[in-house]
């Protein structure tokens, strides 16, 4: 980790953001392990959201101006496509803060090390608006609304935190001398 604080703009979404909204199936012809297609997946992240949402990545921009996503319940439900967490990571998202996650998406987020999938006890969707600034303290595992200075605890990620920090399952295993 380069800095103990992650500071940046948040992008706020609702409950049950499914993997088809994160990356619509027509883009699953892209292979995440091919570098150019990894980047392309980033430009398409959250392009399946309804039209009333602003784009996560502006047309022509390589990555997003947002670095944190604030979600509701059951974030990442649906498909096992690893393209979904990868698209968010490739877009420049470093953390998702949601009330809960679908199982496979949560596991994929950690295995790929694309971003930290934090949970909160209560919804932060009433606290943050898209475009607000936030700060995440990695050591204390808290998120702060920059303008109001209101601070909220994140549920500890436990052992999974070190896996994301290392850059995913394989990088972590090598770092720990497991392979």
């Amino acid at each position: 980790m380069t800095s103990p604080i992650l500071r940046g703009k948040v992008y706020v979404v609702g409950d049950n953001i499914d993997t088809d909204q994160i990356i619509p199936a027509q883009h699953l012809n892209l292979v995440p392990t091919i570098p150019a297609e990894y980047k392309k997946l980033g430009t398409l992240a959250l392009s399946g959201l309804p039209a009333e949402y602003p784009p996560l990545v502006k047309k022509g921009a390589g990555i997003s101006e947002y670095v944190i996503i604030i979600g509701g319940r059951n974030f990442g439900c649906g498909s096992s496509r690893e393209h979904a967490p990868i698209a968010l990571g490739a877009a420049g998202i470093r953390a998702v803060v949601a009330e809960s996650y679908a199982r496979i998406f949560f596991r994929n987020a950690i295995a790929t090390g694309e971003f930290y999938p934090w949970e909160t006890e209560t919804s932060l969707r009433q606290v943050f608006n898209t475009g607000d600034m936030a700060e995440i303290q990695f050591d204390r595992e808290t998120i702060t609304h920059s303008d109001s200075r209101k601070e909220f605890p994140l549920k500890p990620l436990g052992d999974a935190k070190a896996v994301v920090e290392a850059g995913g399952l394989f990088a972590h295993a090598r770092k720990m001398g497991m392979m």
């Binding site: 049950n16 909204q21 027509q26 096992s80 199982r103």
Partner: protein, 430 residues
Amino acid sequence: MTITEKILARAAGKTGVAPGDNIWVNVDVLLTHDICGPGTIGVFQKEFGRDAKVWDRERVVIIPDHFIFTNDKKAHRNVDTLRTFVREQNLPYFYDPADDSYRGVCHVALPQEGHVRPGEVIFGTDSHTCTHGALGAFSSGIGNTDAGFIMGTGKLLIKVPHTLRFTLDGRRPDYIMGKDIILRIIGDIGFEGATYGAMEFRGAAIEALPIEERMTICNMAVEAGAKNGIIAPDQTALDYVRRRTAKPFQPEYSDPDAKALHAYRYQVSEFVPCVAKPHAPDQYAPAADLGDVKLDRAYIGSCTGGKLADFIAAATILRGRKVSIDTFLVPATREVATGLQSEKIQGQTLTDIFKQAGCLDIAPPSCAACLGGPEDTFGRTHGKEVVISTTNRNFIGRMGSKLAPIYLASPLTVAASAVAGRITDPRKFM
């Protein structure tokens, strides 16, 4: 222990496990397909080396099925990537779209080809891998990174799920299908009601179900967030498996005193034909309550709704009737497609029944429009079409267009609705 715990304990070489335990399990079968296979291979080669060999070539099964009948260049490149890997690794179980070995939708082909055996551990790079619990296997969906790890090691670290037990009592009326049962359960427990859990289905109504209907139910366990769905392998299941493989296997069964986190009980005779309204599978409603919903399109297909039993059910409604909306039929596999030509109702083949009813020409087997896919995919929505479908997801944009709402229902309800042009309880035509 429950059936799920027993299978996992054996796969971990332990005498016992409990929900929440993190254990390393040995994997019996790794399934992948054309949209996650190339990425999985990419992870495997990056992490284990370009010349590394898979841990056991007999246990890797590759079934391309998602983007097959399309002009999309990358889709074809991806199948080529699979071909190259299969050749380099000398893998015996690859079902190539370019020749007679092609089968179609992986979750229907996997059991049909004898790769699903009771008591075994199956992981697949597809969330609907939970289908295979219908034959008493532990079977669950994973991502490319985990699949790449299994390819190299044959193992995976997993958490033992808690069990939610669903007992379905009574006699199933002929207008109730597996889809009605699972949509009702998901409607009750919610879209995330089984997150991280094992959904175990049992009871007289389950035991009386044919295998394909059990698959419909287990297939949608993931729509409640479950890790796996599972049904104890009875004689019906054992017969199905033994007809399709000579490989030995060891079934497991829940102990009578096995603990479940929650137990639910239903009288299936009280169920009614139902739909899941847009945009989530837990948006339960009786079909009879939605008679004012006008439809543009009906779709019968996919791993959960494109099996032979699904087409037989639809044909019982469509025989001697005409559809009033565009009706798309996509058999899941070649075996199902062959069945459409050989299976008869009162002397008439299913193919003839569908043709006379005015359905569109039957498409070749694949996932097709279940998940939208490339622009030229058969049945994909492009506008504001209102769709009723036997598939498993009705998320925004799932079948292509974000503006096309999707209602999920049984093949009986989809066929009845195709005739009426509105959402219709199939009892109207039975």
